[in-house]
Amino acid sequence: MPTPIPGPLSGARPRCTRLDMELTGHPRSLSLVRRILCTCAPPQTLSHQVLNDIQLAVTEACTNVIKHAFHHDPTRKYGLQVQVTADRYLIQVIYHDPTFDPATIPVPDLQHAREGGLGVFLIRHIMDEVEYLVDAATGTVTLRMVKFLAAPDDPGGQGENRNPSR
């Protein structure tokens, strides 16, 4: 029952084009992150649906940091970097986790409903580029995510990986 994708975001212009912030691991920070992503959006090229998707992917990424890397310690801190241009939304989540090996993240079996294991799947599905960069020397992990945005005059979808059924 797909309804039409809503039009571009209202609000005259992009307001924040580059952002680099340090957040505490309190899960309260997640709604803040979503609010901030709204303010970084280039309205001409971003539909509500794509912004929703990006908010989802980034929340999943930060949730994983809080759960798996910080083990719910709200005093630990992670970095969030956003860079927005007319055609690209780049987000990096940066944190310390010397034991992390991205190769071990399992692919979920969608045939059976389970209570977990869907976060990374959603990130990979939504974003056009997803990369975990691990600096073994320092234990710093950078999760780099890119979403390509359609040009304002491109009548087609939003980004390469756009699921046409939505």
């Binding site: 649906q49 929340t59 409903a113 977990g116 869907l118 976060g119």
Partner: protein, 102 residues
């Protein structure tokens, strides 16, 4: 997160209306709050998502847990008012079928 629960003894239904954003922060408390309302037997639980503006895998995980738990106790779970922006999360994860959304 605001939660409003109505119990209809005659029709054996429990309706939970949620208002807020269903992420890991909100799910924590909510899961046990809703779990406490589960009665054994043939009850229908309706979770009204009309005012849920955001739902992610943590929220999905809670709904999967509740559905399994309610089924185990002999009841059934129905989702109400799944808006377009959160419907997306159900279809991406193929959980729309599990929840009878298509």
């Amino acid at each position: 997160m605001k939660i409003e629960t109505r119990v209809d003894e005659t029709h054996r239904t429990v309706t939970c209306s949620l208002d807020g954003e269903l992420d890991v922060h909100q799910v924590k408390g909510l899961k046990s709050t809703i779990s406490e309302t589960i009665h054994p037997g043939d009850w229908t639980y309706i979770i009204d998502l009309a005012k849920v503006g955001y739902l992610d895998s943590s929220g999905l995980g809670m709904l999967v847990y509740l559905r399994k738990e309610i089924t185990r106790q002999g009841g059934r779970l129905q989702l109400l008012n799944v808006t377009e922006s959160i419907r997306n999360v159900f279809s991406l994860t193929k959980l729309d079928e599990f929840f009878g959304l298509k």
